[in-house]
Each structure stands twice: as C-alpha cells, then as structure tokens.
C-alpha cells in the first residue's frame, strides 16, 4: 500500500511533525528544526514546479469537496508566499543557530524550534487554505506560536509586549470569527468559491468589515498598530525577523484573498483603506525618526511599510484590483525578505556592540562591518532604491497610481520614501562616524558565519528586483484576480 503524498500536505505536515519531534527531543531540536525546514523548502519547490507546469492545484481534503469539506488550493500567489516563507525561514533558522548559542540560552534554544515550526505550520496553512473558518483556526495557531516566540527572551519588556500582542491577536481573531459567523448567516457556506459573486447585502458588508478590522489588527495597520513596535523590538533577533518578515504577511495575505473573493469594495472604502495606509506611512516614519533604539526603529519602519502595502492595494482605480494587487504582492515579498535581513542584522549589531542605542552606535570601537553592510543593503530595499525588489514594488505602485491619476498616492509614496531615507540615515551616520570613539577601532573582523544568512537575505532583497518579471508572471498563475481587460 503506497501512500499518495501531495506537496501541499507536506508543506503543512512536515513542519508539524518537525514541531512534534523538536518538542519531544529538546536536545536535538535544532537539528530537527533545520531538517524540517529543509524538507519543507523541498516540498514548496516541488509544489512550485507542479503549479508552474499545470497551473493552480486543488486538493479536496477528505475527498468531500468544497462546501462541505475543506479544499487546499495553490496558485501563483500562494506558492510565492510559501516560497518567501520557507526561504526566509530557512535562512533565519540558520542564523538562529548562532543567535541562540549562548550558555544562558538553553531554554530559548529548547523552545524556539517547536514554536517556530508550529508557526510555520500555521503560516503555510494560511497560504493554502480556501476556507474562512479554517483561516481563523490557522491565524490562532500563528498567534499562539508567535506570542511564544515574542516572549522567548523572558525579559519583563518582552513579556509585557507579548501580553499586549496576545490581547490584540485574540481580539483580531475574534473579530474575524464574528465575520465568519455573518458570512455563514448570509451564505450558508464558508469556502472562497461560495463567496464569489455574492450579492453585497448588509450582513456580508458587516462580515467584510469585521474581518478586515480583525486582520488590520493582526497586521498592525495604523491606527491598530499599537502592539507591534514593542513586540517586535523586544523579541530576540531571529524571532523578530520571523515576526516582522513573515507573521504579519499572513494576515496581509488573507486581506488580499478576501479582496479577491469578496464583492469588490466601493471606491470610498478603498480610499479609506489607503488613508489608513498613508497614516501608517507618516506616523510610522515619524516614530522611526524619534526612536532611540535600533530595533525599535526597525519595528516602526515595519508599521510604515505595512501602510505602504495598503496604499499599493488601495490605488486600484478603474481597473479594480486586477493590477494593484500585484504591486501589493511585490511589496509584501520585498518587505518580507528585507525586513528579516534587517532584524537579523540589527540583532547581530546589538550582540556585537552590546547595546542598540542609536545615538551611541558611533561611540563603540567595535564595528560589525558585515552586519552593518547587511543592514544598509536591507535599508536600500526598504527605502525602495533600485534595483531592489522594494523599488520594483514601489514602481508598480506609483505607475498604477499615476496612470489612474491618483496623485495623492504618489505623493504619499514619495513622502514615505523620503522619511525612510531620513530615519535610516540616522543609523548610517552611527555606522560611519568615527570621531567619537575613544579606543582604536577594531574594524573588519573578517567573515563571521553568523552574518552569512542575513547577508544572503539582503542580497536577495536587492537582486530579486532584477527578477521581477518572472516573479510577476509566476504570481499570475491561476490568475488570482482575473485578467486585466
């Protein structure tokens, strides 16, 4: 009796089994984790090949089929997100080996791996799901594992931030659940296909609103971002990288999917979403300018970048979402890679220098050159300078906005870009200033293996920009949002 295993099942079950094994055998957790990550990456590659060859694939779990059972579906967008997750995840895992190697960190080592693998299960599950209640359960898996990772260090600040995160997470999930309830009231089914072509009645509008607010809370869209900076800034570096690079993306992805299947929101509503995004860009920028610590600055930049993604999304114009989702998807990918690199680099800098107070970075005689270089590369992508993927995303955003005459979104993007230059240049000044150092500067300390993973990520963030055309055509497999007229 041979077992037919589909790549989609593997993408979800491999991390799950990995988590179980890592939890059972704490001593071998790191090894199990890496193997599970590598295997999952393999499964995602397999799945990508399948999707590339034959378009979107569907797996009806239990053989029941959509309305009654739950289908898994993989199209270009979901595979791209899976690929982002496993690639970033694998590299972050490698760097976690180094980041958690301290003698006092055995506890963190022991729990990092099961939590992270459970998180991966949840994230992969989100990207393959086609059922809104299943999405609810998945975001709860993500939430619990993510909170566990947030408080991994066990400091008071981290626990405090983790608790706030937990409240926000639960509330967001419950709002989403209430939305699911309203969808059920109106339509009597919960799969994506059932949502399509539904008349936008009052109950359905309420459902969309509830789910959107819930997800906005989870993804920290201004003004619901209050929990994010502390949570991301106080976690240990690999956890921060995962939280900022991957976790918020899951909620963003659900927003994208809902927009795809739910009745098209009115222009006014989209503008409102864009305004929230613009608020995030500006408020996040201001706070990043004022932040005193490096990791806090990076966390605030996440708030701003999330806002930008929503701006990209909101500039739909006459074509509807057929084009604007691509800009959003590109920005999501770009931010995922670059932010993970940046948090890892920030963690390395903090480890080497011993603190991350931005004002005093230039007082340190130790200069972790490679980590600083990584940070700068990631910043280039986040600012949106060519040829990074962030630049391509911004290009797609502004092009669409300009073509449909939405100059306000162009202005918002430009303001956001300038602000990001301003706040990142604070950090660069700290890296490159030398006249405040008392001791001789120990520079260029050779190649630390720990820098390899973040550096790879940062180079990917830059280099992927040149591969935007294949990425875009891959994203369009299965035509998530229909073909442009």
């Amino acid at each position: 009796m041979s077992v037919d295993i589909s790549a989609m099942m593997l993408a979800i079950f491999l991390p799950l089994f990995g988590a179980i094994a890592a939890f059972l055998l704490p001593r071998a957790a790191a090894l199990i984790g890496l193997v599970a990550l590598a295997l999952t990456t393999g499964a995602v590659i397999w799945l990508a090949r399948e999707v590339w060859q034959s378009g979107a694939v569907i797996l009806p779990l239990g053989g029941w089929g959509a309305p009654l059972g739950i289908d898994l579906r993989a199209d270009g967008l979901s595979v791209a997100m899976l690929a982002l997750t496993s690639a970033v995840g694998l590299l972050v895992s490698v760097s976690a080996l180094d980041a958690l190697k301290g003698a006092g960190q055995s506890r963190q080592r022991q729990y990092f791996w099961p939590l992270w693998l459970l998180l991966l299960t949840g994230i992969n599950g989100v990207y393959l799901s086609t059922d809104i209640f299943n999405l609810y359960v998945m975001i709860e898996v993500i939430a619990l594992a993510a909170v566990g990772l947030t408080v991994l260090s066990g400091t008071r600040a981290a626990v405090q931030a983790g608790l706030e995160y937990m409240y926000a997470s639960i509330l967001g999930a419950l709002l989403f659940l209430m939305g699911v309830g309203f969808v059920y009231l109106q339509l009597g089914r919960l799969d994506f296909a059932g949502l399509m072509d539904a008349e936008p009645t009052g109950a359905l509008i309420a459902a969309v609103a509830l789910m959107f607010v819930g997800l906005a809370l989870k993804t920290a869209l201004f003004p619901l971002h209050f929990w994010l900076p502390a949570a991301h800034a106080n976690a240990t570096a690999p956890a921060s990288a995962l939280l900022s690079g991957l976790v918020v993306k899951a909620a963003l992805y659900i927003v994208l999917r809902l927009a795809q299947y739910m009745p098209f929101p009115s222009e006014a509503l989209l503008t409102l979403v864009g305004m929230m995004g613009a608020g995030a860009v500006i408020w996040g920028g201001i706070q990043a300018l004022r932040a005193e610590r490096l990791k806090l600055l990076v966390a605030w930049s996440t708030v701003a970048q999330i806002g930008l993604i929503f701006v990209a999304f909101a500039r739909a114009g006459e074509l509807g979402l057929t084009e604007s989702w691509k800009a959003a998807a590109l920005l999501i990918l770009a931010h995922g890679v670059a932010k993970a690199a940046m948090f890892l680099a920030a963690g390395r800098i903090k480890d080497e220098i011993g603190h991350d107070v931005i004002r005093d970075l230039d007082r340190s005689p130790i200069r972790p050159t490679l980590a600083q270089f990584t940070f700068a590369l990631a910043a280039i992508s986040l600012i949106g300078l060519p040829p990074s993927l962030g630049f391509i995303g911004k290009w797609a955003l502004m092009e669409g906005a300009m073509a449909s005459g939405y100059w306000h979104w162009v202005v918002v993007t430009m303001v956001g870009t300038l602000m990001s230059v301003a706040y990142f240049s604070r950090v660069f000044a700290g890296f490159l200033r030398f006249d405040r150092v008392r001791a001789p500067v120990g520079e260029h300390q050779g190649w630390a293996l720990a820098d390899a993973a973040p550096l790879t990520l940062a180079f990917a963030a830059i280099g992927l920009g040149l591969m935007a055309a294949p990425i875009l055509s891959f994203l369009e497999i299965g035509y998530p949002f229909g073909v442009a007229p």
């Binding site: 209640f133 400091t155 639960i170 509330l171 419950l174 699911v180 059920y184 009231l185």
Partner: protein
C-alpha cells in the same frame, strides 16, 4: 419572536459588551474575560445561524465550528493568563 432572534441579539450584545471591555478595561485579568465574552458572542451568532424551526434538525457544521472556537479560545486564554502570571512575578521581583 423565535429563539434565534432573541439569542442572536443576545450574542451580538454580549459581543459588544466584550468589545467595550477589551478596549476600555485596564486590569489584565478583566481584559481576558472581556475577550472571552466576545468569543461567546461570536459563538451565539454561529449557533443561531445553525438553528432551524424545531421539528427540523439544526445544521451540525456551525456547531462543530463553535466547539473548535471554544477549544481555541481556552488555549489562547491559557497563554494569556500564563503571560499575566509571569509578568506579575517579574514585576514583583523588580520592585523588591
């Protein structure tokens, strides 16, 4: 006046009360409770959606969903409470 109407509105009211609590309350334990109220409210809406006029059987799917929701919520509550306990301990040691 049928039960679904009465309890549906009850559920929404409970959800709203929980929402107020979640946004306004400062005490940590009470916030957890407020969130729990929200979840009960959402459960009400789903159970009400499943309800059919008595001779007919109710729709079992939402029931299963609510059971899942309850288990998920107790897990989340347990984690939140663990965080609260830990935070209290850390604060107490900091003050000493």
């Amino acid at each position: 006046m049928t039960p679904d109407l009465i309890y549906g509105l009850t559920g929404i009211a409970v959800f709203g009360i929980g929402l107020v609590g979640a946004l306004c309350v400062q005490e940590r334990l009470r916030r957890v409770l407020a969130l729990k109220l929200c979840s009960v409210g959402a459960g009400f809406v789903l159970v009400v959606g499943a309800w059919r006029e008595p001779p007919e059987m109710p729709d079992p799917v939402p029931h299963a969903l609510v059971i899942t929701g309850i288990v998920v919520m107790v897990s989340a509550t347990a984690v939140a409470l663990a965080l609260i306990r830990r935070l209290q301990t850390l604060e107490a040691t900091d003050e000493r």
